[in-house]
Amino acid sequence: DQQVKQNSPSLSVQEGRISILNCDYTNSMFDYFLWYKKYPAEGPTFLISISSIKDKNEDGRFTVFLNKSAKHLSLHIVPSQPGDSAVYFCAAKENSGGSNYKLTFGKGTLLTVNP
């Protein structure tokens, strides 16, 4: 049961252009969404997050958009740089009211930024 889906296993863009990574979710109880970047042989690195009470969060070149009615979020990277080439994971946290921080991850999208 894929509660978090990243339907594009890979994406290739030219340096300087916009990269748009998409993520869909099915669990209405998710209230916090995150994007992680992962290089080979390294752990996931936190990139940006958004609470379900917002529809946009921006941090430098990275912007995350959340459409709750469509249960869809996207990560925009502008302008894309070759160093952005990595696997990007969408992750979500359920509002369980507990003290834990269980994340449900998507399968990831491999972004390749060509010089």
Binding site: Y32, L34, Y36, A41, E42, G43, P44, T45, F46, S49, F89, A91, S96, G98, S99, N100, Y101, K102, L103, T104, F105, G106, K107, G108
Partner: protein
């Protein structure tokens, strides 16, 4: 910059053997987690740990698994009797508060032969 460190980076073990994966979370963090990623699959939650006890665990985290914070700095994952399907990257993570991002270690690649 503070980081989560994991040892060893790669562990090879024979099926049926016990393994202990070690993690040093960021020092002032309160919440600790183990995740794993089987090759080609998504990162999966195993267990979360807060206030010296398990706060949540997944179906994967059966009786063969246990976690411990033995000395206030280390956080360990023990697999009592490894199976071939336990081969995966195991990631430790920690976070400071409930609604803040988790920081991940670089992972331990466990290979069960």
């Amino acid at each position: 910059e503070p980081e989560v460190t994991q040892t060893p980076s790669h562990q090879v073990t024979q099926m049926g053997q016990e393994v202990i994966l070690r993690c040093v979370p960021i020092s002032n963090h309160l919440y600790f987690y183990w995740y794993r990623q089987i090759l080609g699959q998504k990162v999966e939650f195993l267990v979360s740990f807060y206030n010296n006890e398990i706060s949540e665990k997944s179906e994967i985290f059966d009786d063969q698994f246990s976690v411990e914070r033995p000395d206030g700095s280390n956080f360990t994952l023990k697999i009592r009797s490894t199976k071939l399907e336990d081969s995966a990257m195991y990631f430790c993570a920690s976070s400071g508060y409930r609604n803040t991002e988790a920081f991940f270690g670089q992972g331990t690649r466990l290979t069960v032969v």
